[in-house]
Symmetry: D2
Subunit: 125 residues, 4 copies
């Protein structure tokens, strides 16, 4: 079967944090994103808040570099990646499940501001 891809349009709940993986030297960055749907309520004839989605985002290598130098808490962003479940055990020894997203592409949402972009030089992969 396939990776489950999704796109989230929302706001950065945290400023991205990063670290370097010791074994490979790869950069990895994490932040949290929230998205609140708006729906038109026909009874009151107004737009109201609908469901909410919050999820932890992981980015690797160049995308990690790009967001660490560009994204701050509160920024409106669009995130495209794959969603998966991570199983873990909490302090009370209970089985727990987290949902995480590995991003392929992240950008500032130009519906909510203007941007200046400095393209990476092309380098051999």
């Amino acid at each position: 079967m396939f990776d489950t891809n999704l796109v989230v349009v929302g706001n950065a709940l945290t400023t991205p944090e990063w670290r370097r993986i010791a074994s490979s030297g790869s950069l990895v960055a994490n932040f949290r994103i929230a998205s609140t749907a708006r729906r038109f309520d026909r009874e009151t004839n107004r737009w109201v808040d609908g469901n909410n989605l919050r999820v932890r985002v992981t980015a690797w290598r160049r995308l990690a570099e790009g967001i660490v130098t560009s994204v701050q808490v509160g920024d409106p962003v669009i995130v495209y990646g794959r969603l998966y479940t991570r199983d873990w055990t909490d302090d009370d020894n209970k089985a727990r499940v987290s949902y995480e997203m590995e991003a392929f592409s992240i950008g500032h949402d130009l519906a909510r501001g203007r941007g200046r972009f400095y393209r990476n030089k092309a380098v051999p992969l």
Copy 2:
């Protein structure tokens, strides 16, 4: 902002359960779905299991009817819907978060079997 839509291709982990909402008479059904990604491992030159995604699916009205009469545990399915977070408090009074999906459309995956389909009669909405 927008609903966060996603499509999951996987297997029904449970047979759908249903109930009728007392106030509106609407039918609602729930089941769980799991999807395991496969990725090509270049070191061993084989396909191996990648990340896993499990999520609870809710369906309403006609879609609820359709799956209650058609889907069983283990069936290969494709599910399209919107993903959201639900906040709740567990028995130890701790804040917890669940991820759920409200489905718009569900079908048996014809890459993994054959199907017979009996279309609903068109009725005024």
Copy 3:
């Protein structure tokens, strides 16, 4: 960059046609799908037709088998796959562009009917 994936919820405009690729013996099937969006018109307080999407769908191997034995013109279906452009030259020697979709998964839409499903026996890939 990545394949551009999309999911289309609509109706089969044609019954799938199939052929076998001479060199590989692989089965390939094609049909066309149409999807019409519905939107709520606040001036008339009614649901009206929105935009329309029609696209040619290609399926390979087992998925081709599954749809050839299961899908007929008019059937409500959900199709998940990747979208791409194909460039060709028409009879007047003009450059033309087609949009096509290679499907990963196709199912009958259980929001619009009931289904019976006969799962393939597991066989080594």
Copy 4:
């Protein structure tokens, strides 16, 4: 049924052009985007170009403003929107079909550069 949403990760083939709708005063902008998939070829053990997708993108109001002031030809972008078919007649009086995308959100792809973002002041909608 539903709008058919998709996300395209690619490059701007043109710099956005804009105009103002006389009747409403709304700003609308258009550009074209291309995305080329990369796939791993197991015979040569290399990444090679896969399918290509090119599509015309339309943006309205604030998103139009955002891209007109921010996006230039060649920029790496991520575009999220809905896909639809538009029917028209060419100069030879032949029926033709175009595929277009109305964008909900567009951003520069931070996997391929760094960005500075200037958020719009919140104003009542």
